[in-house]
Point group: C2
Chain length 341, copies 2
């Protein structure tokens, strides 16, 4: 098998270029691709440009033993696609910056790119270029993804208003439960947990939902869940100067999560509230617009949309209302890679 | 002194946001900045968008002992600005993705960002956002820089024509000589080598020159030197399907490089041809356009422009013509991080 040391940096770049040409889509508005250090594209009139970057580091953000390279590529790209979708935009052009171990098999690099393309192709989005450097410490993937958003349709975190309904897509917490199962090796072969493992390995992005919802003009704030439901709700709260009440019994819990939570003797809704690692969306809108948003989303996706609470004017206060009507004040925790209390 | 562990990821992000607001310029066309995961901007009509990314890894691309953090930041940003300039564009919006050691001093992060801003501010370019992750192995800086280029003025590597003159800016090879002096610790205190050390620590980009030259419409191909003069001339050759002759005696050699080459008993022109680490530009144009290009550049810069050879129709052949008129065939070598012959 050939490795990077065998074919060299320029050989690898040629290989990647060919792969993208053969297996990628053509894309929209692309002018200059991987042949120059700098890529070029022409945005469509009437659109603003969105840009996001997110990194995935082997050993820190994922373990090689839990995922194959196609899955690693899909996850890294999906998390960026999710960020563009959460602003109401459409992903268009990606730059991939890699740090590669010298002994990495070319076949694995190919699989990684197949994972990127598997997420990009259905969206007519392309890899425009990137950068390769050697890494002494496992694989580093840093993706910059650029998208377009129709003028006037961009949704930020800062527009939530007191009284707005809080909606969430899908079943947050599934991916984190899947990771926990893979880490503990308990129940990992039970068919009941299969959806959880899938959610961890290839978490779906909700970009089409974000885009369709944004086009209604009714969504006041939107964010994708990467710091946990409460963590990201707190980001909306901080940027919008509001608080929130979440009704615990209304939180969406999948059968698979219910099953494993019972084995673990945990409250599954605590997992939904706190866990990270999947990329569902939180949306807010006036209660009178909930059906409009649902109807627009239903045209592009059959993913569940659940109303789970409401925005309040108590800035910075986040409360979970228990089934017995008691209230628990929560701190918008979520992921903080450096903080040690 | 406080470190990342003390203030946490979100604390650090707040600190960086404030720093950018206070010490950065306002920028052009910016809509949404660091408050969202995804930044947004509106390109000016009549412009295409350019995008580049380049990474700098402590211990691999630079040693901490040779540069302070301001210089590290300046170098990392300058190499990206250079890539946009080499396409004839103007840098506008940067995304900074960092991998930071947990015990890194906040003061050092601040200095790093001051270095970024020192390069961006004079260009009216801004940091729009980014991403922070923890690194166990020193500082990783991955910058994505987005620029605009007036429609019709983009210059690629692929347009060089047989007979075109080859021009180069400044004094290539100075930075590599500076690095060699720092590594060997010989002569590093001699005042004669100061320009070489400066070139290594804060290599200037030539974006304004690239932009001014591109606007003449006369430049057929352009590239910045990051793989060595011959390595990057070979990139032009490959993309344009041409070869080149370089006249050794015409290569620009600074007094400082001449001084150290004598101490080293090396041919200084060999350093100019092969060394990397500074970001001068190679430009090609019809010989009848050389004066037009020079005149346009002179309006924005007093940097030396030297004509050093010509493009030939012998695709893939690169020759250096010695003072005695003998010809040496050279292989477009340059940097290849993985190749081991």
């Amino acid at each position: 098998m050939s490795t990077l040391s065998d074919i060299g940096e320029f050989g690898l770049i040629r290989h990647i270029r060919e792969l993208i040409e053969e297996e990628g889509v053509e894309g929209i508005g692309t002018i200059a691709g991987a042949g120059d250090d700098t890529a070029a594209f022409e945005p469509r009139p009437g659109h603003a440009i969105l840009v996001t970057c997110d990194a995935m580091v082997e050993g820190r953000h994922y373990l090689r033993t839990f995922m194959n390279q196609v899955e690693v590529g899909r996850r890294a790209m999906a998390m960026n696609i999710s960020d563009i979708g959460a602003m109401g935009g459409q992903p268009r052009w990606a730059l991939v910056s890699l740090g590669l171990p010298e002994d990495m098999d070319i076949k694995d690099v190919t699989e990684l790119y197949r994972g990127f393309l598997m997420e990009l192709n259905p969206l007519d989005a392309v890899i425009l270029g990137g950068n390769i450097t050697k890494s002494d410490y496992g694989l580093l993937i840093d993706i910059t993804l650029i998208g377009e958003v129709e003028r006037g349709n961009m949704v930020r975190r800062s527009g939530a208003k007191p009284g707005d309904a809080i909606l969430v897509t899908g079943y947050p917490g599934q991916a984190a439960a899947g990771l926990e199962i893979l880490s503990s090796k308990l129940y990992s072969d039970s068919p009941e947990v299969r959806p959880l493992l899938d959610s961890y390995r290839t978490p779906p992005h909700r970009a089409m939902i974000g885009w369709a919802a944004a086009r209604t003009g009714a969504v006041t704030a939107m964010i994708d869940i990467s710091d946990g439901f409460l963590g990201d709700l707190a980001h909306i709260g901080e940027e919008s100067g509001v608080g929130a009440e979440v009704i615990e019994k209304d939180l969406p819990v999948s059968e698979a999560l219910l099953w494993i939570a019972e084995k673990w003797r945990k409250n599954p809704r605590k997992i939904v509230l706190e866990a990270s690692d999947d990329y569902e969306l939180i949306l807010t809108c006036n209660p009178s617009d909930v059906e409009t948003v649902r109807a627009a989303v239903a045209k592009v996706s059959d993913v569940l949309i659940t109303e789970v609470g409401k925005i309040t004017d108590a800035a910075g206060q986040f409360e979970v209302i228990q089934p017995d009507k008691s209230r628990t004040a929560v701190i918008g925790g979520g992921w903080d890679h450096f903080y040690r209390p």
